[in-house]
């Protein structure tokens, strides 16, 4: 199927401990607003974390600054022979599961959607999903 990303990444995403920590740190810094960013990879392996600007209003939405996204997708990442492998955002006050909004606005089916929950401020956690044609499937992250 043309929508599948790099082999293996569909069912298990190798989010490294320091990338996990970077996303949680970003989420905490941005709270009570949602944070957002992307992870770029090469040959299916995540290699770069790019925190991005959330241009959405209020505390319950995110939209990655389209200018930053365009620069990454069309300029920086092709130059580096890399591609977007994951998109992350935070749910500052709710569980790490795709909301209806997340599903409706999932325009990047090839990417893994990582959601960081700060619902319990002392126990932040991240889960990963693919969202394709309205279907949510969980992607295994390293323990």
């Amino acid at each position: 199927m043309s929508e599948s990303a790099a082999p293996g990444i569909d069912t298990a995403f190798p989010l490294s401990p320091e990338m996990r920590a970077a996303i949680i740190a970003h989420a905490r810094r941005e709270a009570p607003r949602e944070c957002c960013g992307i992870i770029a990879g090469r040959d299916g392996a995540p290699v770069r974390v790019y925190p991005t600007t959330n241009i959405a209003e209020g505390n319950r939405f995110y939209e990655i600054d389209p200018k930053e996204l365009a620069d990454l997708e069309f300029r920086e990442l092709p130059n580096e022979n890399a591609e977007i492998v994951a998109i992350y955002h935070s749910h500052p006050a709710s569980p790490a599961y795709p909301s209806r909004t997340d599903v409706e606005l999932a325009f990047w089916p090839e990417a893994v959607y990582l959601i960081c929950s700060l619902e319990d401020p002392d126990k932040p956690y991240i889960r990963g999903f693919t969202i394709r044609d309205g279907q949510i499937a969980e992607v295994t992250l390293p323990a």
């Binding site: 320091e18 920590a21 740190a25 290699v47 974390v49 925190p51 130059n79």
Partner: protein, 349 residues
């Protein structure tokens, strides 16, 4: 305990004990691991690790004449760009890595993490490739294209921090990450890790002492993590009456990559303000001009921090000359000029 001179002069075994004690305090499970013998052995076998250090010390006769200095004042440049990763930071990184392996903080599959926009990151990435441990660097989004590509070439992972917050922003982000999951990776923390100055106590200092026939009178070293001045200076101070000169940008907003304007930056934990005899502030343009002059007069193509050191050394040399003093100044040549081709340093014109 502040990282004073006495601390730098501890024996290697004492460092290891101290590191282990520190690890036990913060993360008990790390100390249990113990050193990974295979990883330690791989340092001894690594061609890259073995080619770090023992760099030449060059007398700059043509540059002395260019400045119009009397024969009694000598400038010597420590050519750190001949290190395999291209900078003095290879020494720092190797020392930090070795200490971390010995203390059990770095082992197979465990990631080394640090905040660095520059040469230390390249050195970690190089050693990670050469010794087979993963490396992730927190880098300001403003880092140059050649930096990003160099890190990618060695296979290091990168997390970007706010481009507007510069290197301090990268340090802040790494600290936040450590507070989230500090046990899951090894935070090398070059700004606070005693193995940073220890590298220069063990290698840079003795080399300079030997190469200058024990006649060095002044050491001129730029301040970034401050490890070079702290470690080399501590060693030289033990050997004789050497004046220790720290070089920083004259202003908070400057274009000398890797240097810190201490009054407005996060002051490194390894910095001991009582050690330097003098801190000189250098304008960005003066640093660039000295680097350009070095290339044209001596044929050494060095970077902007070397330029800052040379500009400070030139100023100092003139003062000493007019006071009628004899001196042998040793100037740290931090890295080469090719790393800054896309910056304002080498614009034609």
């Amino acid at each position: 305990m502040p990282w004073g001179v006495s601390y730098f002069l501890m024996k290697n075994s004492e460092y290891a004990m101290h590191d282990r004690a520190k690890a036990t305090r913060t993360t008990p499970e790390q100390a249990i691991c113990g050193p990974d013998a295979a990883l330690l052995a791989s340092i001894a076998e690594s061609a890259v690790a073995r080619s770090i250090g023992n760099t030449p010390l060059h007398r700059l006769r043509r540059y002395e004449r260019y400045l119009g200095l009397p024969e009694t004042i000598e400038l010597h440049l420590k050519a750190e760009w001949v290190n395999p990763g291209g900078s003095i930071k290879d020494r720092t990184a190797l020392s930090i890595v070795r200490a971390a392996i010995k203390s059990g903080q770095l082992g197979p599959g465990r990631t080394l993490l640090d905040a660095t926009s520059g040469n230390t990151g390249i050195a970690y990435a190089m050693l990670g490739a050469a010794l087979s441990f993963p490396v992730t660097l927190v880098v300001p989004g403003s880092a140059s294209e050649e930096r990003k590509r160099t890190l990618a070439a060695y296979g290091a992972r990168v997390i970007y921090s706010d481009p507007y917050e510069g290197s301090d922003g990268a340090i802040r982000l790494v600290r936040e990450m450590t507070s989230v999951a500090g046990d899951d990776f090894f935070y090398a923390d070059q700004y606070n890790n005693p193995a940073n100055p220890a590298a220069h106590v063990a290698t840079t200092g003795p080399e300079i002492w030997r190469q200058s026939d024990g006649r060095v009178t002044h050491l001129v070293a730029a301040l970034g993590t401050t490890g070079t001045l702290m470690g080399t200076g501590a060693y030289l101070r033990q050997q004789g009456a050497v004046q220790l000169i720290g070089v920083q940008p004259a202003e908070a907003f400057h274009g000398i990559e890797g240097l810190k304007h201490l009054p407005t930056a996060i002051v490194p934990g390894i910095y001991d303000p009582s050690l330097p005899d003098r801190i000189m502030g250098i304008e960005t343009e003066a640093a660039f001009e000295a680097a350009r002059a070095l290339a044209r007069v001596e044929g050494f193509f060095a970077g902007s921090s070397t330029g800052a050191n040379l500009a400070a050394a030139g100023e100092l040399a003139r003062e000493l000359a007019s006071a009628g003093q004899a001196a042998r100044l040793v100037v740290i040549g931090c890295d080469g000029g090719a790393r800054y081709l896309s910056t304002g340093l080498w614009e034609l014109g």
